[in-house]
Symmetry: D2
Subunit: 422 residues, 4 copies
């Protein structure tokens, strides 16, 4: 990492030199700068230009950034003339031109992004740029086509083959640990003592994916607890005064938190790969582990129940109604089973987003736990219910197949039986 | 690197597991396997399939590999139906579909290659695969469209932003040094003693670009000698018994050999970036360096002179004719200047391939050296002539511009004057 | 470090094997075990025995440890017979026996300690052992001769030539940083945020000495602040909301805290080497630094003033008397100057222990600062006075010479003048 | 290592500064310089002086070095007056002075060596110094007492607890591998290809001990071959075209070469520790290994047989006589057994030096191999005989005990039976 920095620094100086050269002919504005970067072929000017574009971007407020993205979308879209030329050749009967059509119709913004990436720290800066873009898209969906370019390139650059799994522990440099504290998105890490419990205790593990171009900034991480049995509540996992599990006897590994770290990489999926690789890693180190489960939130339960109250079986509808005073529904497990097993997302699959992720990975809904999350968050989202998804390497492929092709929600029999209670 | 290996190993085992799962339903042949990889979404099966495809490929002879590539080209080309659908929408007036046209017309082989890349060591295996493809293309140009997919993805993955410059010296692991010996393509390294002279002498340097996915296998390297003056012959640089240059007084850095290491990355250009970064690195370490030049072969001189003898000025035509007995032309410097400055490649730029590279980088043709290369190779190609190209950071941009837009060959006045001799 | 651990582990297993072998013939008690370790020559048994002795020691309470040390002192003292034999030979006229006398009279405990050191983690365990010994010596000075053996060997093993200077910063592993927090003995580090300010701010540095046998456990560290001028109070250095110093303009480096980390290495001196090496390191990185000073406590001032009140010049005696109500003496600077410049330790040199350290290193007493330390500690020890010692590489040797041979206290003229005030 | 170098460099500069300070008062000659180093307490001067002494030493020829060592021996011997004072106190009845006698009689050269060790690279330079001393001692045994000081301190500094085992393979830096080639003392490594076979083949290993103060310069290394059975000749181990052993099935690990690397550390023993640790390491990696043996030369056989011909049983005496024409003795195995089992060194133990080493470690003489070493060396020393010593962790302790206390040569029954043949 150090060596990289030295040379990034050097590249920086190449860029500086280029910038000086650029002095007199420097483009007046970002649009011109981008034009030059895209059409020019000089490397010194190229790196300098890329860096100058990033620097100018960093100095902008959000409104200017919005204008910048709009400009990129409009000015660096598909080369229509070139596309039409190739199209005509193809339609005139030259079959070889079908492939050329793809090349000809590549939005020019893609090559622009590739050239920006050459600058020192380019990847990192592009990820930050897309973070802004995603935020702006909340109000302006017309930027979606531009985002598609970022997403396409990031998907290629952050290919699983380029990721490195690393264990995070108490020997990890503090600057990385500090990021873990900041990035934890599910069960907040309250400080260094809490962190120490999660990474340094013998019955706890934390693994992260890194990408060479982002250095020591992780992409995603998962926190693991070794336990005797499948746990039914998160409080017992996180408590400072919990009993330590004897790892030599532990049979269960619990993935109790998965956090994506890079907002600018939204939609580029790593979690599936991460979990499965960690399952392998743990199994290698402790061959006595037999069970790999999550302890997961059910973020959509309460909102769904209230929205669909009238469509529920009467006893569930009643239980939801009775809970309108803020109390917990009585038949909460049945209600959860109903939500997980019967409701469907408009685009297919389970309604619950966390369920979609794990079921899509081939995991099985293993258990529903009441009183599992006493936090305000947990109460608000799901009246404190959490669930376990089971990762069984021998069945994930079959499960995945059944889920993705037939839409079947794979669940353990006891969960299934909750559906038939009345 | 070690950590990566451990986890590659793990991924290997995930893949093994996937392969076992695959057992009963394993596709009968490569086409089916590729179909499944491309359409399936399961990760365990995915990695296993990718690996199985590579393994099966490795077991094939060249004829089968040819058939495999032909199959890829034909079966995983552009999705014509999807393209036509989008095309129609666009032609029906939906302007937003212009960008979709690009996505729709992406050859399916591109996504297939991306999925192959996820396997352990995938990038390395894809580079090896393309190496075969390039060789087969010598006799079968119909594979060119498939190669365009490899080239496009490699260009994106081996973006300069992902490369790391490293110095190679006598503290470098032997397995890397062994590769340097093997990859040196210009001035053969005769063994470990010769290598030691090139990397361990105080007045010698060797720098290489690496890519994280290829581990300790370099992409390209450049060899540098520090000298008092611009050297006129390669023998003096390589001699085992040469005098050492006092690096505190050296004013000149000579790039006397540049070797690309990965045949499978042909056409993905790194040399330009490498030279400029090394110029910066050297300038930082030895601020007294004022001159950065190459000592380069002129591989096309003799062939060109013989082929164009009749079009030359008479005294040059005579000198070439006189040399038909195997002797060297008398007016060799004039002849070289004529070749470099007046001849043009059909696609523009200089005729000589090495000249095209350096002039395209913005270097200047600085000097013509007779009796510069006593090797059989050097005699055969250019009657022993070598030239120096000068890299001056303050003018490379202007030179590059003049060369690439106007086709102007930038040369030092003394070289220019050779043209006017008679 | 990792590699070392692997092999420590292996050695551990060799030791285990040895222990098994030992099974039937294992010495009944520690004295016998030590006898066997010292006389036996078997390596497997040797490592196992050494480890067994350490393990048994770890299981003991303080009283048993006291008995253990007493046993070592009495049973593994000098071999009197051997000494007398050699002595007689020498006194009989064999001059060559004078050197043998040294060998013959070596306390057997020294070789015993050397053999204990061979065990995995031996050095670390011996350092812990001496820590106990030093504590027991508070009440039992008869153990001093045994401690002389530890001290002699530690002095040899922790020779400056074996120490490694390392910078501690925010990229340092958390387990090392945690030790820094724990070991800071002068100005307590209140937590990770405070630590971060001391190691990660651009105008702060922390350097430590490490020894290979103690791994990542530091021996001593020094904290440095870069400032514009010589600082007059510690609060300004430590404040969370202090202004940052522009390091490009800083002219002063302030050593504001030096902490020894290993209680078991008391009396083995590293501070002198550390400060001077850090001065060089800082000077190399920031050539604009011109001044290297400490900001140091005066721990003995108040006690001395109260004890020697009657011997002071009247105006100082009065000022001390007036301060008996808890207020600060009026003429506090004069009083401090008097303490530093005129009082002498019974064994020579300055009375103040911190002064003895810095003056002995060749530093000069540069300035006396009132209101420099608002902490309860600082008030109690010195009514809040702190002083600066100046490290000037061009004069430290001369200063050191004058101090150590003539007992001269080197002080800046303004400090000297305080003596002459009345 | 890099970090160490940086700081060595710094220390170097502290030393430079000290040297400048020293300018005017620099001692005229080495004796004075050593006096000053020993008595002075200044650190800057101390490092500078130490370095100056080393530098001046390096500039000397062998005769001056001899004079230097003589001076050290005579001028920095035991402080006789101090010794006599303490001696008198002890003889006058102060028992506590017995321990002080040891301290008082320490040759002053020991503390001098310790202070030299503080200089940058001090340990390395002291080891080189002792190398010279050992060579001079060949002709001048009066230097022995001085060597005792070096030996004593080196024994303490190179304590097994400070050594690090490392595997040497093809990923090892070339500068280390180059040293291995140079240091191999038993079976010469003919170049990089030969080295590659010994470190990079799957069925070959090479392990070395390193000491932190010597950086990447090894102390000792052992070469290992994995084989199916106990090998009977070295040619089969070293052959370039040998068949590879399937390591998954190998049952035997053969230590076929052990080389000490540092002539200046002669007499400081590491081999015993190295072999046993490597046995453990190999056993951990390949649990199927059951047999750990050497393939060792018998360097003293031929000389011994010729010298003791007349004392041998007649058939052996005859066989030796018959071999005087240069042919090999007929009953060579019997003769070897007789040599190994019956002859004794004047100071006890086996006569053969290699046998003394392995038997002293607790190994067992396992087999005698005729036609085992076709090299000129092997023929000259032992008519080509080599032997295997077996390291069995379960019996080495007992073997060692029997050998070292009873002088019993432990040998396998078939070897023993050779004694009884006639």
């Amino acid at each position: 990492m150090r060596a990289t920095n030295v040379f990034n620094d050097l590249v920086g100086r190449v860029a500086d030199r280029g910038r000086n050269l650029m002095g007199t002919t420097a483009p007046r504005n970002m649009a011109q700068m981008c034009d030059t970067l895209l059409t020019g072929k000089g490397e010194a000017t190229g790196l300098a230009l890329a860096r100058a574009i990033f620097d100018r971007y960093d100095g902008m407020g959000l409104a200017d950034r919005h204008a910048f993205f709009t400009m990129l979308r409009d000015r660096f879209g598909v080369d229509r003339a070139r596309t039409e030329t190739v199209l005509k050749q193809w339609q005139d009967g030259d079959e070889t031109k079908l492939r050329d059509l793809h090349t000809a119709s590549e939005p020019r913004s893609q090559e622009l992004i590739r050239r920006l990436n050459r600058a020192p720290g380019g990847t990192r800066r592009l990820v930050a740029m897309r973070h802004d873009l995603l935020q702006l898209m909340d109000d302006d969906r017309t930027l979606t086509p531009l985002d598609a370019d970022f997403r396409h390139l990031f998907g290629s650059w952050f290919n699983r083959g380029f990721l490195e799994l690393q264990r995070i522990d108490w020997h990890t440099p503090a600057n990385v640990l500090e990021k873990i504290i900041r990035y934890e998105a599910v069960h907040e890490i309250s400080g260094w003592d809490d962190l120490r419990r999660r990474v340094a205790a013998p019955d706890r593990r934390l693994y992260a994916f890194f990408h060479p171009a982002l250095g020591d900034d992780p992409l995603i991480f998962v926190e693991v607890a070794l336990t005797a049995d499948i746990p039914g509540d998160i409080g017992g996992i996180l408590a400072a005064d919990r009993a330590m599990t004897d790892t030599a006897k532990a049979q269960t590994a619990v993935f109790y938190s998965i956090s994506n770290c890079q907002a600018g990489l939204r939609g580029i999926s790593f979690g599936n790969f991460l979990i499965k690789q960690v399952v392998e890693e743990l199994g290698r180190e402790w061959p006595n582990l037999t069970t790999f489960v999550t302890l997961s939130p059910v973020p959509g339960l309460r909102r769904w129940a209230l929205a669909h109250r009238d469509e529920l079986p009467k006893y569930l509808s009643d239980t939801v109604a009775a809970a309108e005073d803020g109390s917990r529904p009585v038949a909460l497990s049945d209600l959860t089973a109903h939500y997980m097993l019967t409701s469907r997302h408009p685009r297919g699959g389970a309604t619950d987003p966390v369920a979609r992720f794990h079921l899509g990975n081939g995991a099985r809904l293993e258990r529903i736990n009441r009183d599992a999350d006493a936090s305000a968050n947990g109460q608000t989202a799901s009246w404190g219910v959490m669930v376990n998804y089971l990762y069984d390497l021998d069945t994930i492929e079959r499960n995945h197949e059944a889920y993705s092709t037939m839409g079947e929600i794979i669940a353990a029999p006891p969960v299934r039986r909750l559906l038939k209670t009345r």
